[in-house]
Symmetry: C2
Amino acid sequence: MFDILRFIEQKRDGRDNTTEDISTFVQGVMSGRVKDYHVAAWLMAVYLRGMAEDELLAFTKALATSGKSVSFGSGIRAVDKHSTGGVGDKVTLILVPLVASCGLSVAKLSGRGLGFTGGTVDKLESIPGFKVDISLSEFERQVNEIGCAVAGHSPDLAPAEAFFYELRDVTATVPSLPLICSSIVSKKIAGGANSFVFDVKYGSGAFMNRIEDARELALSLVKLSNKMGYPSSALLTSMEEPLGRWIGNAMEVFESIEVLQNRGPEDTTELCVALAGEMLLQGGLVSSPEEGASMAKSSLEKGLALRKFRELVVKQGGPEDIASNPSKYLRPSPLVYGVISGTDGFVSSVDTRSIGEGIRRLGGGRSKKEDSIDPGAALEVMVKIGDRVENGDTLMRAYSDDPSSVDSAKAYLDKSWTIGDRAEPPKLILERVE
Amino acid sequence: MFDILRFIEQKRDGRDNTTEDISTFVQGVMSGRVKDYHVAAWLMAVYLRGMAEDELLAFTKALATSGKSVSFGSGIRAVDKHSTGGVGDKVTLILVPLVASCGLSVAKLSGRGLGFTGGTVDKLESIPGFKVDISLSEFERQVNEIGCAVAGHSPDLAPAEAFFYELRDVTATVPSLPLICSSIVSKKIAGGANSFVFDVKYGSGAFMNRIEDARELALSLVKLSNKMGYPSSALLTSMEEPLGRWIGNAMEVFESIEVLQNRGPEDTTELCVALAGEMLLQGGLVSSPEEGASMAKSSLEKGLALRKFRELVVKQGGPEDIASNPSKYLRPSPLVYGVISGTDGFVSSVDTRSIGEGIRRLGGGRSKKEDSIDPGAALEVMVKIGDRVENGDTLMRAYSDDPSSVDSAKAYLDKSWTIGDRAEPPKLILERVE
């Protein structure tokens, strides 16, 4: 019989919990028989003792199957993508229609953000009429019909994951590798996809600052997914500076459309094509990431990805002319401030996290769940690391509905830029992990 | 400002919590601002990371001062004694009047037992009329008047200690040295005594089976108490076999009176005299434990300790003739069973814990808080380790009100005795720790 104290003791003493006990434990959490304090003590023991591979598989499975699961019709192979998040990261908005336009289904469940800007769901909501709160059966139907859908996370999927996450958040046990991986992968599994691609970011604006930590996370995510039966790969990508030209909800959608029109910023386009290549490979449509990337490139060139984007937006309630007339719907708030270089030199580094704090303060992100977001709040990034700048050049422009927010944003934005000696632009895609 | 997450993180990462934060933390626990899951995560981090000396002092102080404190009049120096508990351990019943009869105040707050037999409070309640539920002010007054009192723990004293203990109990964090020590010492401090003596037991019937663990606990308790300003010492004593001849609530009081009459079992008497010597030393009445022991011995010989016992019992509501006619009040339940040796040889070892389980099943102890106790349930121990026995000799007699309990008790009692080769009796008092 399951004994919660013996279960905690095992982990405390560095012994492994059994697969059966882990499953009973998670069920007990959901039924209320296992209490918050039991979970808190176990989480801290996991944080300090780690998890063996069998434990990690069992825990991930128990989370993934703790509620409903999305399930597409037989014959549908769907892929999902997860990013560890960064500043100006609008990649999901592009990848969903891009990969779908290549003939692979993309099933994307996404959260609202508590980060610097909103999450994918918040960004899409800056398109008038766009509806992200669709039911799981609508979500399944739409993936079957047009090959892609984006919806907000349903509380019915992997509810245990949400419960554990909330407790980790208040017990100082968030940054634990097995807990991070089980959380991410279990949600992906419940979301119905058959394979995953991870975009793991490192650098000044990423969850993991150090390359080694990001690499360890990427390896763990790919290994766990593969062991669970979901073919996966990861790219290790730079968040040493913001991605693309725009940061902020509406303007990130705007830039996404530019990429889909095949005239977006180079870095955003490069990253999307590479990730699309991985997704097409994991989905079994191509036999190498390079082949996948050129398939994606050609879809951009032929306008197929843009057409799929329009189909997706219209299907989910947005305007018909979104792709042909994006600036009708997606505009920045008034210009309130420019960050000016006070010297000649080169952009040698960017404190990307500080830029993220700046956009949050301009109204583009939330500090608390209840906060509302100004979709037009934006930062326009004029220069990249390695660029030559002169005294008086504008490095970045700030847009906001709320001029009173400028002072607090300024404190972050002004100190974000280091102008100094010649510097090499960081490599955007450092390596792939399979 | 105090940040509970930063506080847990510090301990998680092996850094020290500050004295000020620990105090705010304990206050937050009592006010409800700090939640059970915070405490559970912190307890597990303490279990796995330990506590530095400053942290231990701060935590002990915060627990000790979390509610009311007992305080005797100026000029009163009171001593308290703590035992880690064992089978047949009736020492407190004897020490309280014995030490008081030597002129040192003894303030004894004691719990109800969840152990093999009841606690001191349960044992005293087998004396008809004896009242242990006296108020803190009555307790203070009685110590002032007659030099000793025994009362049940008040929930008003060190309430945070009780809270932390309850959470430790359900989070697998009980056996942590700093948590054990802070718990014991904080309760002693709130109980109003100025110095403490610890009886730390090792062996088959003790909380600590191994001598080294018991020694570490004894050292930690003494060190912590001294650092907190309470002169203390400890004896490391054997629980390799039950103490004295009787186990069970009423019959342990009976045996205590025999010791106070100076005709009790040798081992019980020896231990009481030694502990009394330590208490008189820590209380400042003598300048060596030997001097204290001979003072105690002389009090037993002159009948002063017995007279003080009678005074204590009468003061707390018991009968006048308890000391002269104990068997009128303290009798075993009917004899139900004898453990018989099936072979010739020597008593070579005793599974004392198993004997404890036996008396519990005969009705002498509780499994749950709500269980009632049969005061007459008893075990009479006829032989000691090293004794020569013959086939058919009775090793132990069992007494119970409930003949149906015999079968489950038998399973424990029969296997408790090992008759084999000649064995040395264990040393009762192994060493003193100061």
